[in-house]
Amino acid sequence: MIPHFGENYRFHWHDLGDIELGRPNLGQQLPVAVYRLAQYTMRETLAQHFGAERAGDLLREAGWIAGREFCLNVLDRDQPLNPFIAQLQAKLKDLGIGVLRVEQADLDRLVFTLTVSEDLDCSGLPVTGTTVCDYDEGFIAGLFHAFTGRSFSAREVDCWATGDRTCRFEVAPDPHPHPAAK
């Protein structure tokens, strides 16, 4: 996936501000519930305005920007894929985003099965029977796009909200990339 606006968005990493300066006492940490409160109320508002499916699409696009910016600003892209993934695993763990694991990796075709345990977005949610990690799908696609320059699709096949204990994503080059991906 790639949003219709491609890389032409106005968000910059420095928009996140100087947190150390701004929160000298409260610091960087906050409870996961607060993050989820923001995400799921945002999702609800989007769904009220545009419908649930469109809300999922918009969160996926937001996740794509986040994944791309995360890769550009937090990760070292000047290394082969395997060390890059190892670095990504370490960073996601350190930041408390989730425990990333690689179930399968076809480095020739760039096809992966990734799992995320203790996922920031969904682990512990009520089971609704549908996957909810749209933001994560976009995040992974944006991250792989920033690393490879190609358009990727990331599809969640298992989720805590479907009753699984591990989120599972099928990641592959997008067979029909949006023109903005080129």
Binding site: A86, Q89, R101, E103, D158, G163, D164, R165
Partner: protein, 311 residues
Amino acid sequence: MNDADRQYLAAATARIDRLLHARGVDPISPSGLSAELQGFAEAFDRLLEQLAVFRQFAVTLAHGDLSYEAPARQHLLDPLKHLQASLRHLTWQTQQVAAGDLDQCVDFLGEFSIAFNQMIQGLRDKRAADDQIRHLSLHDALTGLYNRLFFNQEMERLATSDEFPITILVTDLDDLKRVNDTRGHQTGDLLIQRAARLIEHGVRTEDAVVRLGGDEFAVLLYGIGQSEAETIVQRLRATLVAHNRRNPMLAVSLSIGAATAEGPASLEAALRQADQAMYQDKCNRKGRDRPSHTEPRPSAGTPGQPTEGRH
């Protein structure tokens, strides 16, 4: 309770016994039950179906087969799916380790994480030790330059490569024996080290500078033909002159010979030719322009040029 109910309960009890003896069971799919029992029977059949899949999945995992694709939305399977995901990831990690990636780390798997990470640390330590041993085996302890073993291996490698032309410099440190005899071996070692640094300084970083042993050095000038080699020899001699002007108490004099191989067939011949050229240079310059180590002078003379036709 009607007869169908009683038959059903007997069948259900038998299936529970089979399950407790780790044997497979089929759903009962009863009919004609009383209304009170029908709902229970349907739920029990669903449980039996999931237990059958659970057992099949567990047996597959126990046999080390990670390819089983568990059906979705059967939440009894969740812990096994989690275990399967971890084992698949460990398999991938082990493949990475086998391919040389020692940055892998296992988290959140209890004692196994500790053991795996200790193994990786052990492999890292071994790799560092191997690297150190390899370095020592291919380098000269006194100067840090490559040693004769490296030189021999590199000559063998070049003999089967197409990295030509290549020029071989052979140099000999003049008067080392006299320095050892008159000023001691410590000073002699210092002179060897000084010569090594000057040779390194006089050539490119990509060239291989070798201490063949004692007072003898060689340099492999990769991709360098005859005319460029002359320039490098001139630069090396200029480096020596400049050094000796600044350090008359420990002046360095090198006899230098060079020869170029245009292909693998002429590689050994080039080494012999460079060696002969070095001896010729030593003879030509003997007593003429070499700095004295017994009576230091403010400046040393310019070393001679390589023999005509051999640079």
